[in-house]
């Protein structure tokens, strides 16, 4: 009896062959199966989101119990910091408006001053270990589009490369396919370059002119060149400079400001609210 049941469940070779042929057709025809993928991915993302939420709760609960006293003191300090920062934000809004009006008076194109944020939960990494991609629990239904930048409050983490109705996939800046135009934030340098991923924890800064001042500890921010990333988002800090006389450009190793190994909640940056005005 068991033999018959097992034989009944086994996939015949011809059927496996048909499945593989279908897979090859899907691979060769771009966009094939896109709609079905969108619907089917809802279930997978729902499951991932549920597990991620439970894991977050458990980790949060364990962390809270372990650090109860420390968290009370930290909470008090953070409340004070929030109040101080609220005051600073109010001042910055005033400066922002003043800058906007002055640019209009001077006849300059107003900058996209404010980006809207779509909060998202990270529900999984890509199953492929050599691809630095994460999945979010927001998609086109929440307003996410391809090429939108994704950040944490610490800095840039990547850009959206694939959007389904309820999920989006983000190519992290550490992926070898990622390139971000950056500049040194220090006013005495402002050197520009391109930061590329290396599929590990560090990034590689390239195409910085030999004469440009570049030092360990320099903060890199997005330059806005290329149009994908808005200017001024922190990307990383220089940890090692490689400068050789025979080279046209200098290079540097960069540590991302965002903790890419511990991502839980992130924000998708939509286009600026003032951009459309």
């Amino acid at each position: 009896m068991r033999e018959r049941l097992a034989a009944h469940w086994a996939v015949p070779r011809w059927l496996a062959g048909v499945a593989l042929l279908l897979a090859i057709v899907l691979l060769l025809v771009p966009g094939a199966g896109r709609v079905a993928e969108g619907w089917a991915s809802r279930g997978v993302v729902g499951l991932q989101a549920a597990v991620a939420a439970v894991a977050e709760q458990v980790r949060g609960g364990v962390d809270t119990m372990q650090r109860a006293a420390e968290l009370r003191a930290e909470n008090r300090a953070l409340r004070e910091q929030v109040e101080r920062l609220q005051a600073e934000i109010t001042q910055l809004h005033e400066l922002e408006l003043e800058n906007y009006e002055l640019r209009q008076l001077a006849g300059l194109q107003p900058l996209p001053l404010r980006n809207e944020l779509i909060p998202a939960r990270v529900v999984g990494r890509d199953p492929l270990p050599f691809v630095q991609v994460i999945a979010l629990d927001v998609g086109s239904e929440q307003g996410v589009r391809e090429d939108m930048p994704v950040v944490t409050w610490r800095g840039l983490i990547g850009r959206v490369i694939d959007v389904q109705p309820t999920t989006a996939r983000v190519l992290l800046i550490t992926d070898a396919s990622s390139a971000v135009a950056v500049r040194v934030q220090a006013p005495e340098s402002r050197a520009t370059g391109v930061v590329r991923g290396r599929n590990d924890a560090l990034l590689l800064l390239q195409y910085v002119e030999q004469q440009a001042p570049l030092e360990t500890g320099d903060l890199l921010i997005t330059s806005g060149l290329g149009g994908v990333f808005p200017p001024g988002v922190p990307v990383g800090k220089v940890v090692q400079v490689r400068k050789r006389d025979q080279d046209l450009f200098q290079e540097a190793l960069v540590e991302p400001t965002a903790r890419l190994g511990q991502l839980e909640r992130v924000y998708v940056l939509t286009r600026g609210a003032l951009e459309g005005q």
Binding site: W9, R13, P127, P129
Partner: protein, 185 residues
């Protein structure tokens, strides 16, 4: 009368209950493997090897329940992995399906003993990585081959062996089968 009782769980004859249990275990194990491989990876420390849990489940099932069923799980697991991945739809189905068909074709040579199964796990894992890397490269992804092989594929093969052995014994406990009952088919 027996025919009517068959779908009624505990009232059903023993063989039918076992059949339903295999279906439930298989149906739960594949999504769990995919969530483990994706959401679980979020909680792995940086630099730790990441096992191909979907492949390990299909292989463990093949050793326990028969290689033909292992192919079915590989195709189903590949589809779920495709839905959870930025890779083009069909790439994991192709990679896992080819790997399990290769194992099935090798017959008792690989499935009949522990050394054979370990060799099959390593070969299948390497084939899956090779197919996926090639597929991504053809789709225009920047692939640093030496770094991918050294830092992702080789550690993953080691992790596959460990996870594969654990899953083999876990499945044995869940299904109550011996290796011999599956390997012959």
């Amino acid at each position: 009368m027996r025919q009517h009782l068959a779908p009624l769980g505990a009232l059903a004859p023993v063989q039918h209950r076992r059949s339903a249990r295999w279906l439930i275990v298989g149906g739960l194990l594949l999504p769990a493997a995919v969530v483990g491989q994706t959401t679980g990876a979020l909680y792995l420390p940086e630099g730790w090897p990441r096992a191909d849990i979907g492949l390990a489940v299909a292989l463990a099932w093949a050793w326990r329940r028969g290689r033909g069923e292992g192919v079915g799980l590989a195709l189903g697991g590949g589809l779920l992995l495709d839905l959870a991945s930025a890779a083009p739809l069909g790439l994991h189905v192709l990679a896992l399906g080819l790997a399990l068909l290769l194992v099935e074709s090798a017959g008792e040579l690989l499935a009949g003993s522990w050394p054979g199964r370990l060799v099959a796990t390593v070969c299948a894992g390497a084939l899956v990585h090779l197919v996926v890397l090639t597929g991504l490269w053809l789709r225009g992804w920047a692939i640093d081959w030496s770094r991918a092989l050294a830092q992702a594929t080789l550690p993953a093969l080691g992790a596959d062996l460990v996870v594969g052995v654990v899953l083999y014994y876990l499945l044995g406990g869940l299904l109550g089968t011996s290796a011999a009952s599956g390997s012959a088919r």
